[in-house]
Assembly symmetry: C2
Homo-oligomer: 398 residues x 2
């Protein structure tokens, strides 16, 4: 049988990260290519207790069909929490629980974009979102990212000259892959530009709670008096990613359409996982859990930067210091062939990093960068991995 695939899928490549993962599965390889929480970040005891209680007291609720909008108690909790803590949510907004924040991206593109319409995104940006937009036939227009966030004049120009822009996709805090945090000024400027052009903003904030230094900045959604921002939150980095629970605070009119689309995707999100998130947030001290995670990751982030300074920077590779998140973004000198460097790093030197081209809006674009994750490997593996990278850099760059 000669299969005919849709145009939107035919052009989509499996994530380059997955290719790297194949090599990274080799036990002799140190993987700095993942984006997973540390295994010791999981509150396994508490989550186990919650499960036992649910099955002892109201098991049917965890097993029967539920409503598409999400577990009512969790929705109410999120509504209150986001309003109280982050000034997110107005009367015109509503809350939808999703199967991970990834599904929010899918729903936004499905609901807001016709095929051929454009999504503006930071360039580079999270490959999962970019591929998701592509898989629904959206075009991507990249706006370069600077150390304080999106290049606002390039954004203004893109909005001026690109037809049918449906939304601007941004990760303002500790962006994946660049680690960059958008300044307050740029958050306002981005909001004002979107408002001016009647374009929506999808604010993806999986890492916002993982700040290790500096003060929290207000989320763009907290300015939103116009109903133009779709906020995307996730429990993946602060409870557990395997649960696949995300949530959006979005204008109710948009959310209603997302609900109709979600009915056709998975009917509703796994209800046991939603109950676990609700119980975890309300039964235990969530702030204490966040403080624990920040301490754990902050130490690892510092350690990773020290190791880079010691082993890698002396050979001409630079990196952007970060204030939070899971990733470090490194830049090779122009003389080096970046894709070849990443390939040889894993094949010859047994350290897996992710080539920057994987994160570009234009898949044919070029990049001198690569991404490192420091949360998944143990300290020993992290040191070994960065040492190997340094040794290889010395070989190539002297």
């Amino acid at each position: 049988m000669q299969y005919h695939f849709s145009d939107r899928i035919s052009t989509l490549k499996p994530s380059a990260i997955r290719e790297i993962f194949k090599y990274a599965a080799d036990p002799s390889v140190v993987s700095l290519s993942a984006g997973n929480p540390a295994p010791d970040a999981f509150a396994t005891k508490q989550i186990g207790e919650i499960c036992t209680d649910i099955f002892n007291t109201h098991p049917i609720d965890a097993l029967q069909y539920s409503v598409t909008e999400g577990y009512p108690k969790l929705r109410e909790f999120i509504r209150d929490y986001m309003k109280t803590r982050h000034n997110i949510g107005r009367d015109f907004d509503d809350v939808l629980v999703t199967s991970g924040a990834q599904q929010i991206m899918e729903l936004c593109a499905k609901v807001l974009c016709n095929e051929g319409d454009t999504v503006i995104a930071e360039d580079p940006s999270f490959i999962g979102s970019l591929n998701c937009f592509r898989s629904l036939g959206a075009k991507l227009k990249g706006v370069p990212i600077e150390p304080d966030g999106m290049d606002i004049s390039a954004l203004a120009e893109a909005l001026e000259h690109t037809p049918n822009v449906r939304f601007i996709y941004t990760i303002p805090n500790f962006q994946n892959p660049s680690g960059v945090t958008m300044s307050l000024e740029k958050r306002h400027a981005l909001y004002d530009l979107a408002k001016k052009h009647g374009v929506m903003i999808v604010e993806d904030n999986p890492y916002g709670d993982l700040r290790y230094e500096g003060d929290n900045l207000p989320n763009i959604k907290s300015f939103d008096e116009e109903g133009i921002v779709i906020y995307s939150g996730s429990f993946s980095k602060v409870i557990a990613p395997g649960l696949r629970v995300g949530y959006t605070v979005a204008p109710a009119e948009v959310m209603k359409k997302m609900v109709v689309a979600k009915q056709g995707e998975d009917v509703h999100t796994n209800i046991l996982a939603q109950m676990i998130c609700y119980e975890f947030m309300t039964r235990y001290d969530f702030d204490e859990n966040l403080a624990f995670l920040r301490k754990l990751y902050s130490r690892k982030a510092k350690y990773a930067m020290e190791l880079l300074d010691k082993y890698v920077v002396p050979h001409g590779i630079s990196y952007l210091p970060i204030q939070g998140g899971l990733f470090l973004w490194c830049t090779l000198p122009d003389s080096v062939d970046m894709p070849d460097f990443c390939k040889r790093a894993v094949l010859e030197h047994k350290v897996a990093i992710v080539p920057g081209t994987a994160f570009l809006c234009d898949e044919k674009g070029s990049s001198q960068c690569f991404r490192i994750n420091f949360t998944t490997p143990s300290d020993e593996k992290l040191e070994e991995g960065i040492k190997r990278l340094g040794a290889f850099a010395e070989l190539v760059l002297g």
Copy 2:
């Protein structure tokens, strides 16, 4: 803000069933409109034990990111089980675990159809699938269903005269909503027609294990030597729908594209739920569980048909006897305005049934039918509901 929605979503209405559900939430209403398993169908004790064990022995596996294809042990189990039990799966096939079988429909349409391409479906058919195909811009071409399945000559004609048909969607066993089971002859005829026209088949089989009478018929996928059938299975009716775990056995080449699309939808299916399904299937006697479910539902099906014979049929409403599944399909005499009948049934007589128009491929089409579910209500509620329906029918039809 004036929101602009995509064409594919703008035309999509929230499921009519959801409207009925709103009324059905009134405690004075007897709901025969759902499609839920009976509350006593759930093996709560065993599932609770499994959860406790998972969190005692390998909690991180249940909480960390996992692979898009599915929990490896569950995939292997499904591969063996489907091959051994149902002769499903050839060397060219592979297994993908999904977030409910609903996601399989979404992935099929996304991967196989461009906007404007056509999906052929039984008419009436499962509204969740029809809406899902619509939400990806596919056109629907309905083929009438007869008491032994799809009208094959109408199917042949549709394949002959409809451009860009990408797949035929069928529920061969105890179809939703009609309850019809496709004969063996028609299964072969459908397969042969699809083969002749180079069109794929999506075989949706959520109810296949719930046969109460007669012999099992081979699934269409069991004939598939050409790699043209995508088989869709689900744990929703045989373990628990709240877990949202389905699986497809599909040609590997197609499955690879589905994996790429699934990455963009939810990365992977909730891993705890996948582990629960695997442990449930391997640790307990699954056949014994199926026998228990068949006994439970078979009794309820018989009871519902007896009640219809006693209270409803005498007033001129007919129904199709069923051999399995969750639904009964009733037909009103031509003199009755069906949508008005369903509306008055719930508003004035406090019994919720689903109007047949909800399940049509052409949303503007007409129907004299309505759907009844007998698995969710208790025996008392079932009797009360069908009595009310009978009293109303007497009022309208004499």
